[in-house]
């Protein structure tokens, strides 16, 4: 009986959930890393390196925001 379960749907559930979680975690962690290091480097006078980490943090924020918007778009459009 279980063989007739919508295996395709379950695989899709597993694949999409794992990829989304990993992407979200990666982006958020990069963001935290960027903000923390940028703050430390700015305080120690390394403005250029601080700017690089700030850009890294911004890219993390953008990826998280894009992921959230994409998720809502997919759900709303069924």
């Amino acid at each position: 009986m279980i063989a007739s379960v919508a295996v395709q749907d379950l695989l899709e559930l597993a694949g999409v959930s794992l990829v989304a979680t990993i992407a979200l975690s990666l982006a958020a962690s990069v963001c935290v890393l960027g903000v923390t290091r940028a703050t430390e480097l700015r305080r120690s006078g390394h403005a250029v390196a601080a700017g690089g980490y700030a850009a890294l943090a911004l890219s993390g924020v953008l990826v998280v925001t894009a992921g959230v918007v994409f998720a809502i778009f997919v759900i709303v459009n069924g």
Binding site: M1, E12, T21, L26, C31, T36
Partner: protein, 368 residues
């Protein structure tokens, strides 16, 4: 006239279930946010209530599954739906009393399946639909959330491992505002729809909607969304304690990973039309985020109690649903049975809460 009265009782009972679902499952969305102090409890509950309300409007896939995929719509009556709701409410309140995060979704599905089984025999329950759409996803989802949260926290620790803990914790607390919001939205999209599905099922049984090709009426969507949002705002602090601090003592990165994994699993499941248990998903996520750090970080005794409650949910709510249906039939096929059962349940709940309140605040003894 009797039919209209039973339908009215069913709608009110379904909204009462939705309310209990909200306060029982609030923990899912905000427990980790509260326990890591990313938000104050009151603000977190308010956020969850608003996003549950919004989430209820943005997808109807699950409502369609509940209304059409698990019980034979042609074989059930409004009394069956009523009895199923009684089974679900009774189980929800019993597990809330014990502080156990069980699944409101499975309680509802079990209650309706049990009542349909007693009313019309085994053929009324779509066993294949139950396995495909409920039991297999129920087994897969917590494992999936466990693995996803585990991988997520390992990635997070790998990236932020050498940084000072203070700023990192602050950063993930901001992240939890996003992941908690997404999970609350996911909860609304998946859980409010179960009540919509049940009310729709009652409307089909009463003849207000066709058995196939129906649309969920707007008033059903609005009232269901309002009931779950109100229940969420009232909040279920007993279960918040269990999910937020009794399974593992978590840091904000773990809270973020658990909520992120939970939101991803529930939103994907909603898109595919699986009526998933958000409770199972977030509990699996919390355990995964704890176990990936250190296996002994998870209080496996608490996890075991939760797992036992999960296993008992479908059969117990089905048994109560079946009993409730039997009780209504003692009074014939009219509205008297549901009225008597509904009043009895309200009386029992009032008595139980009255005793609890008295135990907490005993009356002062008068000295002679």
């Amino acid at each position: 006239m009797d039919g209209d009265l039973i339908l009215a009782i069913v709608v009110v009972t379904a909204l009462a279930f939705d309310f209990t679902n909200g306060f029982h499952d609030t923990a899912n969305a905000i427990a980790t946010t509260v326990s890591t102090r990313a938000m104050s409890p009151r603000a977190a509950v308010l956020m969850a209530a608003v996003l549950n309300f919004v989430g209820a409007f943005i997808s109807l896939q699950v409502a369609a599954t509940v209304a059409g995929g698990i019980v034979d719509a042609g074989a059930i009556t409004t009394t069956v739906v009523f009895a199923g709701l009684i089974g679900a409410i009774a189980w929800n309140l019993a597990t809330w009393w014990a502080g156990l995060p069980s699944s409101s979704s499975h309680a509802l599905i079990g209650g309706v399946a049990g009542a349909a089984f007693v009313a019309a025999g085994p053929s009324a329950v779509n066993g294949q639909g139950l396995i495909d759409k409920v039991i297999v996803p129920a087994l897969v989802a917590p494992v999936l959330a466990f693995c996803a949260a585990g991988i997520a926290i390992l990635i997070a620790y790998r990236i932020i491992g050498r940084l000072r803990p203070g700023p990192v914790a602050r950063g993930y607390r901001y992240g939890q505002l996003v992941s908690g919001s997404m999970f609350a939205l996911a909860h609304g999209t998946n859980d409010a729809q179960k009540t919509m599905g049940i009310i729709t099922l009652a409307l089909i049984a009463h003849g207000n909607l066709p058995a196939t090709g129906f649309d969920v009426p707007t008033w059903v969507i609005v009232t269901s969304a309002t009931a779950i949002a109100l229940g969420t705002y009232i909040g279920g602090w007993r279960i918040i304690r269990t999910v937020g601090s009794r399974i593992i003592k978590m840091d904000s990165a773990q809270g973020f990973s658990a909520q992120g994994a939970g939101a991803a699993v529930v939103l994907t499941a909603t898109h595919l039309g699986f009526p998933l248990s958000t409770t199972h998903v977030i509990s699996g996520g919390v355990m995964g985020a704890g176990a990936a750090k250190r296996l002994s970080a998870v209080r496996w005794g608490v996890a075991g109690n939760i797992a036992v409650a999960w296993c008992l949910t479908l059969p117990c709510s089905a048994a109560i649903g079946g009993l409730a249906y039997g009780a209504t039939r003692i009074f014939g096929t009219g509205a008297l049975g549901p009225v008597v059962v509904a009043l009895s349940v309200v009386g029992l709940i009032a008595a139980a809460f009255g005793r609890r309140s008295q135990a907490r605040h005993p009356l002062p003894t008068v000295e002679a």
